[in-house]
């Protein structure tokens, strides 16, 4: 899920906790905001702290103005074998190519575990917003456009479409992690590790409990603040789980990320909006019920038949619009497809066909 969705979902779930709305409306408390901040915290830790402090063993900064794909592929292949031979985890930081204030040159890396090849391709110029300029692929001399190199290690990589895309802003980091039987490629090794664990949520909450008690000397307020933080933090971890990457849920007890349910990817706009809308509706309901008399009566009256507020709200204001969003998703949403990747996989398809 996107940051904004995590944030509002955490706010919505925290607003459902006992006494939270009363405190917010009557005491002018910002407890919902605390819960929402907690809901943003796991990614804040990863993207603003952890990623900078992850060890970098090698960096790939493509040549300017023409990146040499072959050279890059060789470098990655050497690193794969080095990691496997030395049985040492190696982290590789891949950098993006900025070509203008709002323009980037795309490039891709993919691993062919069967044929033990790493492939690199340089793509077209794209805008930060993702609009490609296909003709710019011809700026790159033919011999530099695609490259591949062999490695010997038994490599295992399976994340989404198996292609690492370098596009805009910051490039990703990948880790080569040797196990007993194979060398695993881990995408963004610093992400969703300890920060996305329920155990760390509990540790942070305990620290907050102590701080809050020292500051307020009120056990009830302290408990509510701590609970709001704990719940807000965990909504992030839970709402990440339907995606692909998963999280290391019980770090340090568990050592690896537990795979996601692969229901929807984090960039799926419809699922993001679906969840965002649900959060807004929960907040609307909570804000309405916290005021007496309630400004909006959602109950429906047909003569003597009265449909209670909660039922009509859920059906008319939540389920119906959500069903429309899901229908629109079914009709219109396709995972973003990169036409330039077809060229990267062309040889592979030809090899399979022959």
């Amino acid at each position: 899920m996107k940051g904004v969705v995590h944030y509002f979902v955490a706010a919505a779930i925290v607003s459902l906790l006992p006494f939270v709305m009363e405190l917010s409306v009557e005491q002018k408390s910002l407890i919902i905001v605390l819960g929402a901040i907690a809901g943003l915290l796991p990614d804040y830790i990863d993207f603003k702290i952890a990623k900078f402090f992850e060890r970098v063993d090698e960096e790939i900064l493509p040549d300017w103005p023409y990146p040499d794909s072959q050279k890059i592929a060789r470098k990655i292949a050497m690193m794969i074998d080095e990691s496997w031979n030395t049985k040492k985890t190696l982290n590789l930081q891949l950098h993006t190519i900025k070509v203008g204030p709002n323009l980037w040159r795309k490039w891709y890396v993919t691993f062919d575990s069967e044929r033990k090849k790493v492939k690199v391709m340089v793509g077209p110029i794209t805008t930060t917003g993702g609009k490609d300029f296909p003709e710019t692929i011809n700026d790159i001399p033919e011999e530099l456009r695609k490259g591949e190199a062999d490695f010997n290690a038994p490599l295992f990589y399976r994340y989404k479409d198996n292609v690492i895309k370098m596009r805009a802003f910051t490039g990703p980091m990948i880790a080569f992690k040797p196990t007993e039987d194979y060398l695993e490629v881990e995408f963004l090794p610093w992400h969703r590790r300890w920060s996305h664990s329920i155990t760390i949520a509990a540790v942070f909450s305990m620290i907050l409990w102590v701080l809050s008690y020292i500051l307020t000397l009120d056990i009830n307020i302290t408990n509510i603040i701590t609970l709001a933080f704990f719940v807000g933090y965990n909504t992030h971890i839970i709402t990440d789980q339907p995606g692909y990457m998963g999280s290391n849920l019980f770090w340090p007890i568990t050592k690896k990320r537990i795979r996601g349910f692969k229901i929807a990817e984090s960039m799926d706009p419809f699922m993001n909006f679906f969840t965002f809308y649900l959060a807004i509706m929960i907040l609307l309901w909570q804000m309405n019920t916290a005021i007496t008399p309630h400004p909006i009566d959602f109950a429906l009256k047909f003569g003597s038949l009265v449909i209670p507020s909660i039922i009509s709200f859920i059906i008319l204001w939540v389920m119906l619009p959500e069903a429309v969003i899901l229908l629109l998703r079914k009709r219109y949403w396709k995972p973003p497809k990169d036409p330039f990747l077809e060229e990267l996989f062309k040889d592979e398809e030809e090899a399979i066909l022959t």
């Binding site: 996107k2 969705v5 943003l40 603003k48 900078f52 204030p101 910051t170 909006f273 005021i291 400004p295």
Partner: protein, 439 residues
């Protein structure tokens, strides 16, 4: 009782005059409105007609100010986000197209407002009743999201972890510093009684010009870009899905900002844009046009809802001094005026975008930026005096931080958000004591 035809005529007159004024870079109709309010009694214009004229001004401004943003890089707090893609389009000779994409978004929202006006009558009063008791935490919720959601731009190249951390945190730290400084400045301007009473209502105007318009003009002055010939387009580079998604996002973001106090169009656009995963350039520009129209016109339109007194935005604050809504006829005339005025403003936008667009390659941007700067300084001095000028200079220093360090300019909006949050949660006195000011 006011004649609907005369009311409509006043709206259209307001659209034409508002459109003409809005082409002048950095001139906000909110700053000119007090002059109209002062002149109206002398010209024998009744308060009701004056308010409809001001509605026309806002419609014209929301549409035509795109020229100022897209061609002259003089944005306000709702349009600064569109600067980057619009400048790229301008340098590709697609400036006219960029302006028209934004205008299209605004036009669609104008028609939506007219279509949903009966629903607004039902929805707005209870919605406002819900928002008011929850306002303090809603504003804080938005404020902290703006603060915490910015991402580092780069991890930097280099082996040392600290080198990478420093490179990544350059823009984040600049953003946080901008937020703190803008918040303090806003607090002092709002609660410090530093402006003379007669211009106090204009308090944040010099700050906002300093935050958003002047830094862009300074950058333009030094960069002095050469603008190529602008192509006159027969069709726009946007699919129906782009138009729908862009208008929808802009409408939602702008309407949210129009309804919630202290939230401006820029913040609404960011939240909704991220929630629906908006990425494509044309879609983004359409949504920005839709967003600013929904925000400016929507917030003023709420003033016409009978039975409740919803005062949102600078123009509504001015108009509320002379107008109390009460008649359904006036509400529906305002709705019709938004649709008709929006169409007329769009036609004016097309003609102006082409007219000025043709002339752009001949413009010396350094000279133009200098002239606009002199005009702005004169305007701020005329409207708010020497203290206002001082506020503008300080705000310019703060507004340059995100420009130079590539962080979010949106942090400047802390000038509104921080003082209001502190005030609503009862912490304003404590904060004033820390700053050593009396409120």
């Amino acid at each position: 009782m006011a004649d609907p035809i005369i009311l409509l005529t006043y709206i259209l007159l307001g659209v034409i005059i508002g459109s003409a004024l809005s082409i002048i870079p950095s001139l906000h109709v909110y700053n000119v409105a007090p002059i109209f309010i002062l002149l109206a009694p002398t010209l024998g214009i009744s308060d009701t007609y004056l308010v409809f004229f001001l509605l026309g001004n806002v419609i014209g401004y929301s549409m035509l100010n795109m020229i100022s943003t897209f061609y002259f890089s003089a944005p306000d707090d709702t349009t600064f986000m569109v600067l980057m893609p619009s400048q790229v389009m301008l340098r590709d000779g697609r400036g006219i197209e960029a302006v028209l994409l934004g205008g299209l978004g605004a036009l669609i929202v104008a028609l939506i407002f007219a279509a949903i006006s009966p629903i607004l009558l039902i929805v707005i009063p209870p919605l406002i009743s819900i928002i008011i008791p929850n306002m303090h935490w809603l504003i804080a919720l938005i404020m902290f999201y703006m603060l915490l959601s910015e991402f580092p731009k780069d991890v930097g190249v280099g082996k040392s972890r600290w080198e990478r951390f420093k490179a990544g945190w350059r823009n984040l730290a600049a953003g946080y510093l901008t937020f703190i400084l803008a918040g303090i400045l806003g607090f002092i301007v709002m609660f410090g009684n530093i402006l003379p009473a007669e211009v106090a209502y204009q308090g944040l105007m010099p700050a906002f010009i300093g935050f958003f318009a002047v830094p862009s003009l300074i950058m333009n002055f030094f960069a002095s870009p050469n603008i190529p010939e602008q192509r006159i387009v027969k069709s726009l580079d946007a699919t129906p899905i782009d138009v729908f998604k862009g208008s929808f996002a802009g409408f939602l973001g702008g309407s949210f900002a129009a309804t919630a106090p202290a939230i401006t169009g820029g913040m609404g656009a960011i939240i909704v844009g991220q929630a629906i995963g908006q990425r494509e350039e044309s879609q983004f520009i359409i949504s920005m046009g839709a967003n600013r129209f929904a925000y400016y016109v929507g917030s003023f339109f709420l003033l016409f809802v009978p039975g409740v007194r919803v005062v949102r935005g600078g123009m509504a604050n001015l108009a509320a001094m002379v107008y109390i809504p009460g008649k359904y006829m006036e509400f529906y005339v305002a709705a019709a005026g938004i649709a008709i005025g929006g169409c007329i403003a769009f036609i004016i936008l097309i003609l102006t975008a082409i007219g000025i667009g043709k002339w752009l390659p001949k413009i010396r941007y350094d000279i133009l930026s200098g002239v606009i700067m002199v005009f702005i300084i004169a305007l701020v001095y005329f409207l708010t005096g020497i203290i206002g000028l001082g506020i503008m200079i300080v705000a310019t220093g703060i507004g340059l931080l995100p420009v130079l360090y590539n962080s979010r300019r949106l942090h400047c909006l802390s000038a509104i958000l921080l003082p209001l949050t502190l005030s609503m949660t009862g912490l304003a006195d404590d904060f004033a004591a820390i700053l050593g000011i009396k409120i």
